[in-house]
């Protein structure tokens, strides 16, 4: 903390200086080298001082060095040689650039380079340094981000310059955050008056500071802080409720996505497809493959994976249908066995052809982090996207089933196969397309899941049982049932989890399903008519 603060002070000076006199003349290389030499020490405290020195030096490359240092890419040749910036650090040979002269040095062996290491304390220091610089950034969002980072990081001597910044700041939000940051500092100094400025804020740094103050020896301060905390807790309760609901819906959306394809193949066609999980896996691997094809563009790759994942899984589905399932018409329990065999083969195929190890799927920038509703409630973006995606897929499926020729034919074949055939519907073709549709949707689920969990050979197995539970609970052959079942099971699970624990919550949900099926043997929304006699 000390070093961070001293650095921050130094930096504020730097900012003032650099604002006044833009870009000093390029320092002689010796100075730069000396600055970097000071970094090449073992003690992290000494490194911290060296960082401060660099920040204060006004050297034109100081920011680039600090960023490289933060990324672990500022390195030195083994024999006390040049300082270099590593451009890419995977594999054994890395392209590098001279840190002082910017000269391109080609590739160097990892063996010959020594990294200038940082630890978390130093990383925090560097991040604050860069954040302070960002307080002057033209973009409002960057300034807000920077101001939020300063919460809990302000030292007494920074108050004055920061107050100046607050006055000049145009954005209300930034002003509010900076005021809070200063108030936290005053609170730490034992200023009871600061409590007022902080009460009602849901920010974790604020709560953290108030909690510390509530334990203070100063009775008045402790009392004020405790009261402020109580008010915050009150506000937070509502947020917690909404958050739990969101967690539940998010888990539910995953269940719906995983199960909805099954609702088609199982519910509509009566095929118990145990390879469904592996079709999900194929979708996830498609995302990985796309990202391999389009390195550096994870977002584009993810978007393209949606159709690609659908196609890959649908094709696999067609192959399974033609090679196995068509021979097992009307024997649902035997499709279970055969497709279980298929699932084993697919898993081992992935292990043999790709790798038994998990594959990295990168989240694009716009899916990382969270959407802040208020300071006490943020919704994680990747899950928000998955939730939206699940609803879209569901709506799309409903459209296909209700509004297209295929949907009509599928419903006809489901309800009365012989009659449908005699009306000229090619039942075999409908079977293939239905199975392909269900499989394709599984592929879509895989694309979404690649953003939440491991992409590996076991991916499918983790979801297959849950998927069956959802479909059976919802009522076989009813897409709405699957939606309602998935979302409600998700919410039930997340509501139970805080007091029952993750494992017990899951067991309770399973027991609930078992008992529910006794009460309503055909699920939430039983299918009516002849087709129900499955």
């Amino acid at each position: 903390m000390r070093t961070i603060r001293s650095l921050v002070q130094g930096l504020l000076c730097l900012i003032v200086v650099s604002l006044a006199a833009p870009a000093a003349l390029a320092a002689p290389d010796d100075d730069g080298r000396a600055l970097l030499e000071a970094l090449d020490v073992d003690s992290y405290a000494a490194k911290g001082e060296a960082v401060t020195a660099i920040a204060d030096s006004g050297h034109p490359q100081s920011r680039a060095w600090l960023e490289a240092l933060l990324d672990g890419k500022l390195q030195r040749q083994d024999d006390g040689g040049r300082f270099v910036v590593v451009l890419a650090n995977r594999g054994r040979h890395w392209p590098v650039r001279d840190a002082l002269t910017d000269e391109d040095l080609g590739e160097m062996s990892r063996r010959d380079l020594d990294r200038i290491g940082i630890n978390n304390a130093l990383r925090g220091q560097l991040q604050n340094t860069l954040a302070l610089l960002d307080l002057h950034a033209p973009a409002v969002s960057a300034r807000r981000e920077a101001a939020r980072d300063l919460l809990g990081e302000v030292s007494p001597s920074m108050v004055e310059p920061l107050n100046g910044l607050v006055e000049n700041e145009a954005d209300d939000e930034v002003r509010r955050l900076l005021t809070q940051a200063i108030a936290i500092q005053r609170l730490e100094q034992g200023d009871v008056g600061a409590v007022e400025a902080l009460s009602g804020s849901l920010n974790t740094s604020v709560r953290s500071a108030l909690s510390a103050a509530a334990r203070s020896d100063d009775a008045a301060l402790a009392k004020a802080a405790t009261e402020a905390l109580a008010g915050i807790e009150q506000k937070q309760k509502l947020n917690d409720g909404i958050q739990t609901l969101y967690f539940g819906l998010s888990l539910g959306s995953v269940l719906v996505l995983a199960a909805i394809g099954l609702a088609i193949t199982f519910g509509v066609m009566g095929v118990i497809n145990m390879a469904h999980g592996e079709l999900i896996m194929l979708g996830a691997y498609t995302t990985w493959g796309m990202q391999q094809l389009l390195p550096g563009q994870p977002g584009l790759a993810l978007v393209l994976s949606i159709p690609a994942g659908f196609l890959v899984a649908a094709l696999a589905g067609i192959v399974i249908e033609r090679s196995v399932i068509q021979f097992l018409k009307g024997r649902p329990l035997e499709t279970l066995l055969a497709t279980f065999g298929v699932s084993l083969i697919l898993q081992q195929l992935v292990r043999t052809l790709i790798s038994p190890l998990n594959r990295t799927v990168v989240s694009p920038e716009w899916m990382s982090g969270s959407l802040m509703i208020n300071e006490g409630l943020s919704l994680t973006l990747n899950r928000l996207f998955v939730l939206g995606f699940a609803l879209l897929v569901f709506a799309g499926l409903m459209l296909v089933m209700r509004r297209t020729r295929l949907g009509l034919e599928v419903r006809a074949v489901t309800q009365n196969r012989a009659m449908a055939r005699s009306m000229g519907i090619r039942a075999t073709r409908v079977d293939i397309l239905t199975f392909a549709l269900g499989s394709g949707v599984a592929g879509l689920a895989g694309v979404a899941l690649s953003q939440l969990t491991n992409v590996g050979p076991n991916l499918g197995q983790n979801y297959i049982i849950d998927s069956f539970m959802v479909v059976v609970f919802g009522g076989v052959g009813n897409l709405w049932g699957t939606l309602v079942a998935g979302l409600s099971l998700g919410v039930i699970n997340q509501v139970l989890e805080p007091w029952a624990g993750a494992v017990l919550a899951k067991i309770l949900v399973l027991v609930f399903i078992i008992l529910f099926i006794q009460k309503r043997p055909r699920g939430l929304f039983p299918q009516k008519g002849r087709a129900a006699e499955g």
């Binding site: 279970l336 066995l337 539970m469 059976v472 494992v503 899951k506 399973l510 099926i517 043997p521």
Partner: protein, 380 residues
């Protein structure tokens, strides 16, 4: 319901039972002789390792017979028979744990090792009594039996059938697996129960005990087989076949279908429990993996491969698949799942009646006593 007093002796008059028992008992005798009499190193010698392996296969075969009783003759595809097997195994495992006494690494006279280092200060109530063999052996039957009774009572009363029943049996075993994984349950969590020392005073490491367990498994299989045949051949068995083929019609005729189903289901669960109890001392460990839904599905495959609705088919299936597993995981580890997966597909698509179906169709011409194989799609 068991009108005929001679119902238990009836199977012995059946040709298929006679052949089955003959082959089984002969195999037991031959293996025992080759193990005891032929000196080690001789090509015909059967090592104790092999004997234990065969003993494990036999306990699996009993499990398969139990499953075939409900699937082949009652039309209930249980995807949770592993649960009954594992419960029987745990009951046996608890007895074996208590037998360790103060010979555990911490030397605690009562608490098993895993309880000592997880700070249990006293034995949980459900562990009491398992130091007595008769109680433990009773629980081997009662624990799975009671679970089957409660579960079956609820399910059959509300007429849960077909796919729904299969899925909730799967949910049952899955829930139990998760529960037994929890260390708070007091069953050793993921590590399960292991490091057993002796059974009824016999050292589990001695060759003689291993041979004894092998023979016990063989005898249990023989008895279980005869019991199942007796049930199948009785009036009750005929009613259950009627339930399988046309449940609603049987009900309308006036039979209490759910009672028949419940009785057969409970008997089957108990047999599975016995199989589990024989399995545990031979492999030396019981852990929640036995509850995994995948294992239960694999058991279904054994029966399907052998041919369901024949009982001896289940035995053949269990032996063949497990033998193949032993071979493949040793010779071509990577190919094992391909082979197993391929087997699932080929058997269901090309051999819907399994190996026994082939045999039966050959035999039916000259043997009118053979029980008919189930009609296709009977359980759907």
């Amino acid at each position: 319901m068991l009108a005929s007093r001679s119902w238990l002796s009836r199977p012995f008059r059946e040709r298929s039972t006679q052949i089955f028992l003959g082959v089984l008992l002969a195999a037991l005798a031959v293996v025992t002789l080759l193990n005891l009499i032929v000196p080690a190193g001789h090509p015909l010698h059967v090592s104790t390792y092999t004997v234990t392996l065969l003993g494990k296969y036999l306990s699996f075969a009993l499990l398969a017979v139990a499953l075939d009783l409900v699937w082949g003759y009652l039309g209930i595809l249980s995807l949770g028979h592993g649960a009954f097997f594992a419960l029987g195994g745990y009951a046996m495992g608890m007895y074996l744990m208590r037998q360790i006494g103060d010979r555990g690494v911490y030397g605690d006279p009562v608490l098993p090792d895993f309880m000592v280092f997880l700070d249990w200060d006293s034995l949980p109530w459900y562990w009491h009594g398992f130091d007595m063999a008769w109680f433990a052996f009773l629980m081997v039957l009662l624990a799975p039996g009671l679970l089957a009774l409660v579960f079956g009572f609820l399910a059959f009363r509300s007429r849960v059938t077909g796919v729904y029943l299969s899925i909730i049996t799967q949910a049952l075993t899955f829930a139990l697996m998760l529960a037994f994984f929890r260390n708070e349950m007091g069953f050793g969590g993921n590590n399960g129960l292991t490091d057993f020392k002796e059974l009824l005073g016999f050292d589990l490491r001695s060759d003689a005990t291993r041979l004894g367990l092998f023979l016990a498994s063989g005898v249990a299989l023989a008895l279980g087989y005869v019991l199942c045949r007796a049930i199948v051949a009785s009036k009750l068995g005929r009613v259950s076949v009627a339930c399988r083929d046309a449940e609603a019609r049987t009900r309308f005729i006036g039979y209490r279908v759910e009672r028949v189903q419940l009785f057969v289901f409970v008997v089957s669960a108990m047999l599975a429990g016995v199989a589990g109890a024989l399995y545990v001392p031979q492999v030396g460990i019981i852990n929640p993996g036995e509850f995994s839904p995948i294992f239960s599905i694999e058991v279904v495959l054994w029966v399907a491969l052998g041919g369901r609705g024949t009982l001896y088919g289940a035995v053949i299936g269990a032996l063949v698949v497990n033998y193949a597993k032993t071979v493949f995981t040793g010779v071509m580890p990577e190919a094992w799942l391909f082979a197993l997966g391929g087997l699932f597909v080929v058997v269901t698509v090309l051999l819907p009646k399994g190996v026994a179906g082939l045999l039966a169709s050959l035999r039916r011409r000259r043997d009118d006593g053979a029980v008919e194989t189930p009609a296709q799609g009977a359980s759907s």
